[in-house]
Symmetry: C2
Subunit: 244 residues, 2 copies
Protein backbone atom coordinates (compact mmCIF):
# COMPACT_ATOMS: atom_id res chain seq x y z
CA UNK A 1 0.00 0.00 0.00
CA UNK A 2 2.87 2.37 -0.69
CA UNK A 3 4.38 3.68 -3.90
CA UNK A 4 7.60 4.75 -2.22
CA UNK A 5 10.83 3.49 -3.78
CA UNK A 6 12.04 0.17 -2.37
CA UNK A 7 15.08 1.87 -0.85
CA UNK A 8 13.07 4.51 1.02
CA UNK A 9 14.18 5.37 4.51
CA UNK A 10 11.50 4.82 7.14
CA UNK A 11 10.54 7.57 9.57
CA UNK A 12 8.62 5.90 12.41
CA UNK A 13 6.31 7.75 14.80
CA UNK A 14 5.57 5.87 17.99
CA UNK A 15 1.86 5.53 18.88
CA UNK A 16 0.58 4.68 22.36
CA UNK A 17 -2.77 5.14 24.14
CA UNK A 18 -3.68 8.64 25.24
CA UNK A 19 -0.85 10.55 23.59
CA UNK A 20 -1.22 14.25 22.81
CA UNK A 21 -2.32 14.12 19.21
CA UNK A 22 -0.71 17.36 18.01
CA UNK A 23 2.68 16.14 19.31
CA UNK A 24 2.37 13.35 16.78
CA UNK A 25 0.57 15.05 13.92
CA UNK A 26 2.66 18.21 13.62
CA UNK A 27 5.89 16.41 12.68
CA UNK A 28 4.02 13.60 10.94
CA UNK A 29 2.32 16.05 8.58
CA UNK A 30 5.59 17.88 7.91
CA UNK A 31 7.75 14.82 7.28
CA UNK A 32 5.07 13.01 5.26
CA UNK A 33 5.66 15.69 2.63
CA UNK A 34 9.15 14.30 1.96
CA UNK A 35 7.79 11.43 -0.19
CA UNK A 36 5.16 13.77 -1.69
CA UNK A 37 8.09 15.89 -2.89
CA UNK A 38 9.62 12.81 -4.48
CA UNK A 39 12.28 12.19 -1.86
CA UNK A 40 13.25 8.67 -0.77
CA UNK A 41 11.56 8.67 2.64
CA UNK A 42 8.44 7.06 3.93
CA UNK A 43 6.57 7.83 7.15
CA UNK A 44 4.84 5.26 9.31
CA UNK A 45 3.03 5.25 12.61
CA UNK A 46 3.96 2.29 14.78
CA UNK A 47 2.08 0.82 17.69
CA UNK A 48 2.18 -2.36 19.70
CA UNK A 49 -0.80 -3.50 17.59
CA UNK A 50 -2.82 -2.12 14.71
CA UNK A 51 -5.90 -1.72 16.90
CA UNK A 52 -7.36 1.76 17.39
CA UNK A 53 -6.14 3.65 20.43
CA UNK A 54 -7.61 6.67 22.18
CA UNK A 55 -5.80 10.01 22.20
CA UNK A 56 -6.16 13.00 24.52
CA UNK A 57 -8.75 14.52 22.17
CA UNK A 58 -11.99 13.00 20.87
CA UNK A 59 -10.38 11.21 17.96
CA UNK A 60 -9.28 7.58 17.94
CA UNK A 61 -6.27 6.62 15.84
CA UNK A 62 -4.94 3.45 14.26
CA UNK A 63 -1.24 3.13 13.46
CA UNK A 64 -0.04 1.90 10.09
CA UNK A 65 2.54 -0.62 11.36
CA UNK A 66 3.44 -2.58 14.46
CA UNK A 67 6.60 -2.52 16.54
CA UNK A 68 7.41 -6.03 15.28
CA UNK A 69 6.83 -4.95 11.72
CA UNK A 70 9.22 -1.98 11.77
CA UNK A 71 12.00 -2.75 14.27
CA UNK A 72 14.72 -0.69 12.59
CA UNK A 73 13.47 2.64 11.24
CA UNK A 74 15.99 5.20 10.03
CA UNK A 75 14.35 7.92 12.10
CA UNK A 76 12.37 7.41 15.30
CA UNK A 77 10.02 10.11 16.64
CA UNK A 78 8.41 9.81 20.08
CA UNK A 79 5.45 12.08 20.92
CA UNK A 80 4.42 13.06 24.42
CA UNK A 81 1.32 13.72 26.43
CA UNK A 82 0.04 14.14 29.96
CA UNK A 83 -0.91 11.29 32.34
CA UNK A 84 -0.84 8.66 29.55
CA UNK A 85 2.80 9.48 28.84
CA UNK A 86 3.60 8.97 32.51
CA UNK A 87 1.87 5.60 32.21
CA UNK A 88 4.00 4.84 29.14
CA UNK A 89 7.12 5.27 31.30
CA UNK A 90 6.11 2.00 32.94
CA UNK A 91 5.30 0.21 29.68
CA UNK A 92 8.19 -2.22 29.22
CA UNK A 93 7.13 -3.26 25.72
CA UNK A 94 7.10 0.36 24.55
CA UNK A 95 10.42 1.19 26.22
CA UNK A 96 11.99 -1.91 24.73
CA UNK A 97 10.86 -0.88 21.24
CA UNK A 98 12.18 2.64 21.69
CA UNK A 99 15.50 1.37 23.08
CA UNK A 100 15.98 -1.16 20.29
CA UNK A 101 14.85 1.09 17.45
CA UNK A 102 16.98 3.97 18.76
CA UNK A 103 20.06 1.76 18.71
CA UNK A 104 19.96 1.32 14.93
CA UNK A 105 18.31 4.62 13.97
CA UNK A 106 20.28 7.47 12.39
CA UNK A 107 18.19 10.02 14.28
CA UNK A 108 15.98 9.80 17.37
CA UNK A 109 13.59 12.67 18.09
CA UNK A 110 11.05 13.50 20.77
CA UNK A 111 8.23 15.98 21.04
CA UNK A 112 7.10 17.44 24.36
CA UNK A 113 7.16 14.85 27.16
CA UNK A 114 8.20 12.24 24.62
CA UNK A 115 11.68 13.05 25.91
CA UNK A 116 10.70 11.49 29.25
CA UNK A 117 10.19 8.24 27.35
CA UNK A 118 13.62 8.58 25.74
CA UNK A 119 15.10 9.28 29.16
CA UNK A 120 13.31 6.31 30.74
CA UNK A 121 14.72 4.16 27.94
CA UNK A 122 18.21 5.31 28.92
CA UNK A 123 18.82 7.39 25.82
CA UNK A 124 19.32 10.80 27.47
CA UNK A 125 21.47 9.99 30.48
CA UNK A 126 23.72 12.98 31.28
CA UNK A 127 22.66 14.61 28.01
CA UNK A 128 21.21 18.04 27.24
CA UNK A 129 17.59 17.82 26.12
CA UNK A 130 14.26 19.58 26.49
CA UNK A 131 10.60 18.81 27.13
CA UNK A 132 7.31 20.56 27.86
CA UNK A 133 8.12 23.47 30.19
CA UNK A 134 5.99 21.94 32.95
CA UNK A 135 8.02 18.71 33.10
CA UNK A 136 11.58 20.00 33.31
CA UNK A 137 12.10 18.54 36.82
CA UNK A 138 10.84 15.12 35.73
CA UNK A 139 13.21 15.12 32.76
CA UNK A 140 16.11 15.89 35.06
CA UNK A 141 15.05 13.24 37.57
CA UNK A 142 15.26 10.74 34.73
CA UNK A 143 18.90 11.69 34.24
CA UNK A 144 18.89 14.32 31.49
CA UNK A 145 19.75 18.04 31.63
CA UNK A 146 16.83 20.34 30.74
CA UNK A 147 17.42 23.36 28.52
CA UNK A 148 14.59 25.86 27.91
CA UNK A 149 15.02 25.84 24.13
CA UNK A 150 12.66 25.19 21.22
CA UNK A 151 14.60 22.08 20.42
CA UNK A 152 17.93 20.63 21.59
CA UNK A 153 20.06 18.61 19.18
CA UNK A 154 23.00 16.59 20.43
CA UNK A 155 24.49 14.18 17.96
CA UNK A 156 21.74 11.92 16.68
CA UNK A 157 19.16 12.91 19.30
CA UNK A 158 16.80 15.88 18.91
CA UNK A 159 14.38 16.74 21.71
CA UNK A 160 11.76 19.42 21.17
CA UNK A 161 9.78 21.49 23.64
CA UNK A 162 6.03 21.22 24.27
CA UNK A 163 3.41 20.14 21.73
CA UNK A 164 3.64 22.70 18.90
CA UNK A 165 7.45 22.76 19.07
CA UNK A 166 7.37 19.48 17.17
CA UNK A 167 6.56 21.42 14.00
CA UNK A 168 9.65 23.61 14.28
CA UNK A 169 11.78 20.57 15.13
CA UNK A 170 10.37 18.65 12.16
CA UNK A 171 11.37 21.43 9.76
CA UNK A 172 14.87 21.35 11.20
CA UNK A 173 14.87 17.57 10.86
CA UNK A 174 13.61 17.80 7.27
CA UNK A 175 16.54 20.08 6.50
CA UNK A 176 18.96 17.65 8.10
CA UNK A 177 17.51 14.77 6.08
CA UNK A 178 16.94 16.50 2.76
CA UNK A 179 18.37 20.02 2.81
CA UNK A 180 17.11 23.48 3.62
CA UNK A 181 15.35 24.03 0.29
CA UNK A 182 13.18 20.99 0.93
CA UNK A 183 12.41 22.14 4.46
CA UNK A 184 11.36 25.53 3.11
CA UNK A 185 9.10 23.84 0.54
CA UNK A 186 7.46 21.86 3.33
CA UNK A 187 7.01 25.04 5.34
CA UNK A 188 5.34 26.70 2.35
CA UNK A 189 2.99 23.77 1.70
CA UNK A 190 1.99 23.77 5.38
CA UNK A 191 1.64 27.57 5.12
CA UNK A 192 3.64 27.64 8.35
CA UNK A 193 3.93 31.37 8.75
CA UNK A 194 2.77 31.57 12.35
CA UNK A 195 0.90 34.60 13.67
CA UNK A 196 -0.13 33.83 17.26
CA UNK A 197 -2.97 36.32 17.78
CA UNK A 198 -1.61 37.52 21.13
CA UNK A 199 2.06 37.40 20.16
CA UNK A 200 4.75 35.07 21.48
CA UNK A 201 4.62 33.57 24.96
CA UNK A 202 5.82 36.11 27.52
CA UNK A 203 8.07 33.79 29.48
CA UNK A 204 8.99 36.33 32.11
CA UNK A 205 5.32 36.38 33.13
CA UNK A 206 5.01 32.57 33.24
CA UNK A 207 5.19 30.70 36.53
CA UNK A 208 7.02 27.61 35.34
CA UNK A 209 5.90 25.71 38.43
CA UNK A 210 2.19 26.51 37.97
CA UNK A 211 1.43 23.08 36.55
CA UNK A 212 3.25 21.15 39.30
CA UNK A 213 0.05 19.95 41.00
CA UNK A 214 -1.33 18.74 37.66
CA UNK A 215 1.90 16.95 36.74
CA UNK A 216 2.05 15.36 40.17
CA UNK A 217 -1.51 14.15 39.70
CA UNK A 218 -0.64 12.62 36.32
CA UNK A 219 2.31 10.77 37.82
CA UNK A 220 0.49 9.42 40.88
CA UNK A 221 -2.65 8.57 38.94
CA UNK A 222 -0.99 6.86 36.01
CA UNK A 223 1.74 4.99 37.87
CA UNK A 224 -0.11 3.77 40.96
CA UNK A 225 1.30 0.29 40.40
CA UNK A 226 4.86 1.59 40.03
CA UNK A 227 5.95 3.26 43.30
CA UNK A 228 9.56 3.10 42.09
CA UNK A 229 8.75 5.35 39.15
CA UNK A 230 6.60 7.64 41.28
CA UNK A 231 9.57 8.09 43.60
CA UNK A 232 11.98 8.80 40.74
CA UNK A 233 9.69 11.26 39.00
CA UNK A 234 8.72 13.02 42.21
CA UNK A 235 12.28 13.39 43.38
CA UNK A 236 11.55 11.49 46.57
CA UNK A 237 14.53 10.01 48.39
CA UNK A 238 15.20 6.31 47.75
CA UNK A 239 12.96 4.14 49.87
CA UNK A 240 10.35 6.86 50.38
CA UNK A 241 8.25 5.20 47.71
CA UNK A 242 7.39 2.55 50.27
CA UNK A 243 4.82 5.02 51.57
CA UNK A 244 2.92 4.97 48.29
Amino acid sequence: VTDAPADSKEIAFVVYPGLTLLDLVGPLQALSLLPVLGLPFETATVGEALDPVETDVPLTISPSRTFDDLPQPTVLVVPGGAAPTMRALGDDRLLEYVRTAARSADIVASVCTGSLILAAAGILTDQDATTHWSCAPQLERLGARYLPERWVERGNVIASAGVSAGIDMALHLAARLAGEDTARQIQLILEYDPKPPFGPIEWDRVDRRSMDPAVDGWIRGALASRPDLIATLSGEPAGASGRA
Copy 2:
Protein backbone atom coordinates in the same frame (compact mmCIF):
# COMPACT_ATOMS: atom_id res chain seq x y z
CA VAL B 1 -18.23 9.02 28.10
CA THR B 2 -17.88 12.66 28.96
CA ASP B 3 -17.66 14.54 32.22
CA ALA B 4 -18.55 17.86 30.66
CA PRO B 5 -21.42 19.76 32.27
CA ALA B 6 -24.81 18.99 30.75
CA ASP B 7 -25.04 22.53 29.36
CA SER B 8 -21.67 22.40 27.57
CA LYS B 9 -21.52 23.95 24.15
CA GLU B 10 -20.44 21.53 21.44
CA ILE B 11 -17.55 22.35 19.09
CA ALA B 12 -17.82 19.96 16.17
CA PHE B 13 -14.94 19.16 13.79
CA VAL B 14 -16.02 17.62 10.50
CA VAL B 15 -14.22 14.40 9.51
CA TYR B 16 -14.15 13.02 5.98
CA PRO B 17 -11.87 10.56 4.16
CA GLY B 18 -8.44 11.79 3.14
CA LEU B 19 -8.46 15.13 4.94
CA THR B 20 -5.18 16.83 5.89
CA LEU B 21 -4.76 15.69 9.46
CA LEU B 22 -3.00 18.78 10.82
CA ASP B 23 -5.86 20.98 9.56
CA LEU B 24 -8.06 19.06 11.96
CA VAL B 25 -5.71 18.38 14.85
CA GLY B 26 -4.24 21.88 15.31
CA PRO B 27 -7.56 23.52 16.25
CA LEU B 28 -8.90 20.31 17.85
CA GLN B 29 -5.97 20.18 20.26
CA ALA B 30 -6.29 23.89 21.08
CA LEU B 31 -10.04 23.96 21.62
CA SER B 32 -10.10 20.64 23.52
CA LEU B 33 -8.26 22.52 26.26
CA LEU B 34 -11.36 24.62 26.96
CA PRO B 35 -13.04 21.81 28.95
CA VAL B 36 -9.67 20.85 30.49
CA LEU B 37 -9.56 24.41 31.84
CA GLY B 38 -13.02 23.90 33.32
CA LEU B 39 -14.94 25.90 30.75
CA PRO B 40 -18.37 24.77 29.53
CA PHE B 41 -17.38 23.52 26.10
CA GLU B 42 -16.94 20.08 24.66
CA THR B 43 -15.19 19.10 21.44
CA ALA B 44 -16.33 16.32 19.13
CA THR B 45 -15.25 14.95 15.79
CA VAL B 46 -18.19 14.18 13.53
CA GLY B 47 -18.30 11.93 10.51
CA GLU B 48 -20.94 10.34 8.37
CA ALA B 49 -20.30 7.13 10.36
CA LEU B 50 -18.09 6.09 13.25
CA ASP B 51 -16.00 3.84 11.01
CA PRO B 52 -12.29 4.58 10.65
CA VAL B 53 -11.32 6.78 7.71
CA GLU B 54 -7.97 7.30 6.05
CA THR B 55 -6.19 10.64 6.22
CA ASP B 56 -3.45 12.11 4.02
CA VAL B 57 -0.80 10.68 6.38
CA PRO B 58 -0.28 7.09 7.54
CA LEU B 59 -2.74 7.32 10.40
CA THR B 60 -6.38 6.22 10.29
CA ILE B 61 -8.88 8.12 12.42
CA SER B 62 -12.29 7.39 13.89
CA PRO B 63 -14.64 10.25 14.76
CA SER B 64 -16.41 10.42 18.11
CA ARG B 65 -19.90 11.24 16.80
CA THR B 66 -21.96 11.01 13.62
CA PHE B 67 -23.61 13.78 11.62
CA ASP B 68 -27.01 12.46 12.74
CA ASP B 69 -25.88 12.41 16.35
CA LEU B 70 -24.72 16.04 16.46
CA PRO B 71 -26.85 18.04 14.02
CA GLN B 72 -26.68 21.38 15.83
CA PRO B 73 -23.25 22.12 17.30
CA THR B 74 -22.56 25.59 18.68
CA VAL B 75 -19.34 25.83 16.67
CA LEU B 76 -18.58 24.03 13.42
CA VAL B 77 -15.01 23.63 12.13
CA VAL B 78 -14.28 22.26 8.65
CA PRO B 79 -10.74 21.10 7.83
CA GLY B 80 -9.30 20.93 4.34
CA GLY B 81 -6.98 18.80 2.29
CA ALA B 82 -5.83 18.11 -1.25
CA ALA B 83 -7.62 15.83 -3.75
CA PRO B 84 -9.91 14.35 -1.07
CA THR B 85 -11.26 17.80 -0.25
CA MET B 86 -12.04 18.33 -3.92
CA ARG B 87 -13.89 15.01 -3.79
CA ALA B 88 -15.78 16.23 -0.73
CA LEU B 89 -17.10 19.16 -2.80
CA GLY B 90 -19.21 16.58 -4.60
CA ASP B 91 -20.33 14.77 -1.44
CA ASP B 92 -23.96 15.81 -1.01
CA ARG B 93 -24.33 14.20 2.41
CA LEU B 94 -21.32 16.13 3.74
CA LEU B 95 -22.43 19.42 2.20
CA GLU B 96 -25.93 18.95 3.59
CA TYR B 97 -24.52 18.42 7.08
CA VAL B 98 -22.31 21.50 6.83
CA ARG B 99 -25.17 23.61 5.45
CA THR B 100 -27.62 22.49 8.15
CA ALA B 101 -25.18 22.68 11.06
CA ALA B 102 -23.94 26.11 9.91
CA ARG B 103 -27.49 27.45 9.94
CA SER B 104 -27.88 26.96 13.69
CA ALA B 105 -24.23 27.37 14.76
CA ASP B 106 -23.01 30.52 16.49
CA ILE B 107 -19.67 30.27 14.67
CA VAL B 108 -18.55 28.44 11.52
CA ALA B 109 -14.84 28.07 10.85
CA SER B 110 -12.67 26.54 8.17
CA VAL B 111 -9.03 25.57 7.94
CA CYS B 112 -7.12 25.57 4.65
CA THR B 113 -9.25 24.32 1.74
CA GLY B 114 -12.06 23.63 4.21
CA SER B 115 -13.29 27.03 3.02
CA LEU B 116 -13.97 25.49 -0.40
CA ILE B 117 -16.42 23.17 1.35
CA LEU B 118 -18.08 26.15 3.06
CA ALA B 119 -18.24 27.92 -0.30
CA ALA B 120 -19.69 24.85 -2.05
CA ALA B 121 -22.32 24.71 0.70
CA GLY B 122 -23.29 28.29 -0.17
CA ILE B 123 -21.95 29.81 3.04
CA LEU B 124 -19.35 32.18 1.55
CA THR B 125 -21.16 33.66 -1.45
CA ASP B 126 -19.92 37.20 -2.08
CA GLN B 127 -18.05 37.11 1.24
CA ASP B 128 -14.41 37.77 2.11
CA ALA B 129 -12.60 34.59 3.13
CA THR B 130 -9.28 32.81 2.77
CA THR B 131 -7.87 29.38 2.02
CA HIS B 132 -4.56 27.64 1.29
CA TRP B 133 -2.55 30.01 -0.92
CA SER B 134 -2.57 27.50 -3.78
CA CYS B 135 -6.38 27.42 -4.01
CA ALA B 136 -7.29 31.10 -4.08
CA PRO B 137 -8.72 30.89 -7.64
CA GLN B 138 -10.87 27.89 -6.72
CA LEU B 139 -12.27 29.73 -3.69
CA GLU B 140 -13.19 32.68 -5.90
CA ARG B 141 -14.75 30.42 -8.56
CA LEU B 142 -17.01 29.09 -5.80
CA GLY B 143 -18.26 32.61 -5.20
CA ALA B 144 -16.11 33.96 -2.33
CA ARG B 145 -13.49 36.72 -2.31
CA TYR B 146 -9.97 35.54 -1.39
CA LEU B 147 -7.85 37.62 0.96
CA PRO B 148 -4.20 36.63 1.61
CA GLU B 149 -4.54 36.82 5.39
CA ARG B 150 -3.83 34.37 8.22
CA TRP B 151 -7.54 34.23 8.94
CA VAL B 152 -10.54 36.24 7.79
CA GLU B 153 -13.47 36.79 10.15
CA ARG B 154 -16.74 38.18 8.88
CA GLY B 155 -19.64 37.97 11.30
CA ASN B 156 -20.01 34.38 12.41
CA VAL B 157 -17.70 32.89 9.78
CA ILE B 158 -13.93 32.55 10.26
CA ALA B 159 -11.80 31.14 7.45
CA SER B 160 -8.14 30.41 8.02
CA ALA B 161 -5.26 30.02 5.59
CA GLY B 162 -3.39 26.78 4.88
CA VAL B 163 -2.89 23.91 7.31
CA SER B 164 -0.95 25.39 10.25
CA ALA B 165 -3.01 28.61 10.17
CA GLY B 166 -5.73 26.65 11.92
CA ILE B 167 -3.73 26.89 15.16
CA ASP B 168 -3.63 30.69 15.04
CA MET B 169 -7.31 30.81 14.12
CA ALA B 170 -8.19 28.46 16.97
CA LEU B 171 -6.49 30.72 19.51
CA HIS B 172 -8.47 33.65 18.15
CA LEU B 173 -11.62 31.55 18.31
CA ALA B 174 -10.83 30.48 21.88
CA ALA B 175 -10.56 34.17 22.83
CA ARG B 176 -13.89 34.88 21.17
CA LEU B 177 -15.53 32.00 23.04
CA ALA B 178 -13.84 32.35 26.43
CA GLY B 179 -11.71 35.50 26.55
CA GLU B 180 -8.12 36.41 25.85
CA ASP B 181 -6.74 35.10 29.16
CA THR B 182 -8.06 31.64 28.35
CA ALA B 183 -6.60 31.78 24.85
CA ARG B 184 -3.23 32.72 26.31
CA GLN B 185 -3.44 29.82 28.76
CA ILE B 186 -4.10 27.44 25.86
CA GLN B 187 -1.16 28.93 23.96
CA LEU B 188 1.07 28.32 26.99
CA ILE B 189 -0.08 24.72 27.47
CA LEU B 190 0.55 24.05 23.75
CA GLU B 191 3.90 25.85 24.17
CA TYR B 192 2.92 27.69 21.00
CA ASP B 193 5.88 30.01 20.76
CA PRO B 194 6.76 29.30 17.15
CA LYS B 195 10.34 29.48 15.91
CA PRO B 196 10.34 28.36 12.27
CA PRO B 197 14.00 27.39 11.80
CA PHE B 198 14.32 29.33 8.52
CA GLY B 199 12.18 32.27 9.55
CA PRO B 200 8.79 33.28 8.19
CA ILE B 201 7.68 32.47 4.66
CA GLU B 202 9.18 34.99 2.23
CA TRP B 203 6.03 35.64 0.23
CA ASP B 204 7.70 37.93 -2.29
CA ARG B 205 9.79 34.95 -3.38
CA VAL B 206 6.82 32.57 -3.65
CA ASP B 207 5.23 31.85 -7.02
CA ARG B 208 1.60 31.60 -5.92
CA ARG B 209 0.73 29.76 -9.10
CA SER B 210 3.44 27.09 -8.70
CA MET B 211 0.97 24.51 -7.44
CA ASP B 212 -1.58 25.06 -10.23
CA PRO B 213 -0.75 21.80 -12.04
CA ALA B 214 -1.08 19.84 -8.79
CA VAL B 215 -4.38 21.51 -7.88
CA ASP B 216 -5.71 20.90 -11.37
CA GLY B 217 -4.75 17.25 -11.02
CA TRP B 218 -6.56 16.97 -7.68
CA ILE B 219 -9.73 18.46 -9.18
CA ARG B 220 -9.77 16.34 -12.35
CA GLY B 221 -8.78 13.18 -10.51
CA ALA B 222 -11.19 13.47 -7.63
CA LEU B 223 -14.20 14.79 -9.51
CA ALA B 224 -14.13 12.71 -12.69
CA SER B 225 -17.83 11.94 -12.25
CA ARG B 226 -18.75 15.60 -11.76
CA PRO B 227 -17.85 17.56 -14.92
CA ASP B 228 -20.01 20.42 -13.66
CA LEU B 229 -17.76 20.87 -10.61
CA ILE B 230 -14.61 20.44 -12.69
CA ALA B 231 -15.84 23.25 -14.92
CA THR B 232 -16.66 25.53 -11.99
CA LEU B 233 -13.38 24.92 -10.19
CA SER B 234 -11.31 25.21 -13.36
CA GLY B 235 -12.97 28.43 -14.46
CA GLU B 236 -14.06 26.91 -17.74
CA PRO B 237 -16.88 28.63 -19.58
CA ALA B 238 -20.35 27.11 -19.06
CA GLY B 239 -20.88 24.17 -21.36
CA ALA B 240 -17.18 23.54 -21.79
CA SER B 241 -17.48 20.77 -19.22
CA GLY B 242 -19.10 18.66 -21.94
CA ARG B 243 -15.56 18.00 -23.13
CA ALA B 244 -14.68 16.25 -19.87
